[in-house]
């Protein structure tokens, strides 16, 4: 089992944190993991992306030829990374900010109104954790509790956001699993 997920959005959406939380959750679960942020020039233009690879075997390359999953938080990210996704892959679309759907017919789309759901649990700013909850809820790559544990580890020193983030992860997962 090896899954590669690319998270992409604009700076301030907590894109890198999504990957960071997933990576921590996977490590605590005992999986092998690599977290590879885009850095440098790409970082400056206001866009952010990272790729997280989870595997129960040794991970050879941290660089993905084709991610299995894309989590697109804004329209430019969907446009840019949609072509890279492996045929048969999954694309999570932040429906709050992206009106269009992927053009490709060989990938599946999961639309999540992340901002709206985040607002329900207390703050727009938790949209990233809602998406993460939806990701683990849909794929089962982590249990929801494992994702929450990863979040707690990844946000050490910012404990005051724990309850909000936990609620957001659970909300995203519930949206997928219960369809509401």
């Amino acid at each position: 089992m090896m899954v590669r997920t690319t998270f992409a959005g604009f700076g301030g959406q907590g894109v890198l944190l999504m990957g960071y939380v997933l990576a921590h959750g996977a490590m605590l679960k005992g999986l092998n993991v690599t977290y590879l942020p885009a850095y440098g020039a790409e970082m400056r233009g206001g866009t952010a992306n990272c790729t997280v690879t989870l595997s129960d075997e040794e991970i050879a390359s941290p660089v993905a030829s084709q991610p299995d999953i894309l989590v697109a938080m804004n329209a430019p990210s969907l446009e840019r990374f949609e072509p890279t996704v492996k045929p048969g892959g999954l694309i999570f679309v932040n429906a709050s900010l992206i009106e269009v759907s992927p053009q490709r017919s060989d990938v599946s789309e999961v639309r999540v109104d992340a901002v709206k759901l985040a607002r329900e649990v207390g703050s727009d700013r938790a949209a990233n954790m809602v998406m993460l909850g939806a990701l683990v809820g849909k794929t089962g790559m982590l249990e929801v509790e494992e994702a929450v544990r990863g979040m707690a580890e990844a946000t050490k020193g910012k404990e005051k956001f724990f309850d909000l983030n936990k609620a957001a992860i659970e909300r995203g997962a519930a949206f997928i699993c219960e369809g509401r």
Binding site: M27, L36, P37, Y39, A41, A60, S61, P62, V63, S65
Partner: protein
């Protein structure tokens, strides 16, 4: 006791490993993509009562390293390619004066200011000695976070054992990447063996002088032979490398560092199809693992060099393998990060001999 499993950024891994290896002194000057390392050490060394100085330049920082090493400390500096160029004079002095130190180069694209993307274009500079004079220094090339930790420990150990600087080479990708790491047992600097050559005041002994100036030709001649003897011992004892799926392989990729990780991904993809391909990964770039590579390079095996530079590693492969095998080369200059699929394409091209990707090197 080894540490628990921690998810850490590569640059932080080097910093943490250095502190656990007994390093209490760091001197450096900011340059991307390695700033996370000095940033980490600025607070971490303060916790353990160590010294961190953001120097006025790379030149000053390597010279602070000379001083701290002469005074007996385990000491480190780090930079990225242009900054490493500036440190070369000091590295030559460290070798001439036989002072241990660890120098980290998170390589970026060049020449000149280049860019901050991952690159391996400082291979010659590192392995041939980028400064003046007849000298060598061990060059360690980790390929991931766990190895960054282990080879940082090894770098300090080799430096002290041989009284010689040691270079650790990575790149921005490796510095930014996070992987779980287990650190080896921490070393208390107080438990390190005492050094009988350091400058600490000549109380109860004759004064010592540490220098590299030998105006009398026969004396410099002897000094160089002495250094060469040391380099020969290092070359005999400190070679490190990894074989990966080379058993029965018909094409063996030779790659190190980040390039070797990408190549390993390609090898896995091809092995799943049942194709006989493998990877040979030098971990010490100097001393280069000549014997192991030569043994493997028998008739019929194709050697496919893959590097993030345009023909540097391949020269050591040519010097080692000669005409024993067909040698192929594919290099990517600083900037784009190749994917395993691209390397897979290269290996397929070598297997079929269609010349589509990379090229055959005439020896």
């Amino acid at each position: 006791m080894p540490s628990e499993r921690m998810l850490m950024r590569g640059a932080h891994v080097v910093g943490e490993a250095a502190v656990r290896a007994g390093c209490r002194c760091y001197f450096g000057y900011p340059i991307t993509p390695q700033n996370e390392l000095p940033e980490y050490l600025s607070s971490r060394l303060a916790e353990v009562g160590g010294t961190f100085i953001q120097a006025e330049s790379e030149v000053a920082s390597i010279n602070m390293v000379i001083g701290a090493s002469a005074a007996g400390a385990r000491v480190m500096t780090s930079s990225s390619s242009p900054g490493i160029s500036l440190k070369q004079e000091g590295i030559s002095y460290l070798c001439g004066q036989e002072l241990p130190a660890v120098i980290v180069n998170m390589m970026r694209g060049g020449p000149g200011l280049g860019n901050i993307a991952p690159s391996q274009a400082d291979y010659f500079q590192a392995t041939r000695g980028g400064g003046h004079g007849d000298y060598r220094l061990p060059v360690l090339a980790p390929s991931g976070c766990q190895e960054l930790a282990e080879l940082t420990f090894l770098a300090f150990e080799l430096a002290d054992t041989y009284r010689n600087p040691v270079m650790l080479v990575g790149d921005g990708l490796m510095g930014q990447m996070m992987e779980p790491v287990v650190f080896p047992d921490p070393i208390d600097p107080k438990d390190l063996p005492p050094k009988d050559w350091i400058l600490d005041g000549c109380k109860g002994r004759p004064p010592r002088a540490i220098y590299s100036l030998f105006l009398e030709p026969p004396v410099l001649y002897q000094h160089n032979l002495h250094l060469q003897g040391k380099y020969d011992r290092i070359a005999a004892k400190e070679v490190r490398f990894e074989h990966y799926q080379t058993e029965g392989a018909e094409v063996v990729v030779v790659a190190y560092g980040t390039a070797s990780r990408i190549a390993k991904g390609a090898v896995n993809r091809l092995r799943r199809e049942g194709l006989p391909v493998g990877l040979f990964r030098p971990i010490t770039l100097w001393p280069f693992p000549k014997e192991a590579l030569r043994q493997m390079a028998q008739n019929g095996i194709k050697i496919a060099v893959f590097e993030l530079s345009l023909g540097q590693l391949v020269e050591d492969v040519i010097l080692t393998v000669g005409a024993r095998s067909e040698i192929y080369f594919h290099g990517i200059p600083g900037g784009p990060i190749p994917t395993p699929a691209e390397v897979e394409d290269y290996i397929r091209s070598v297997m079929s001999g269609d010349g589509r990707v990379g090229r055959r090197v005439e020896v």
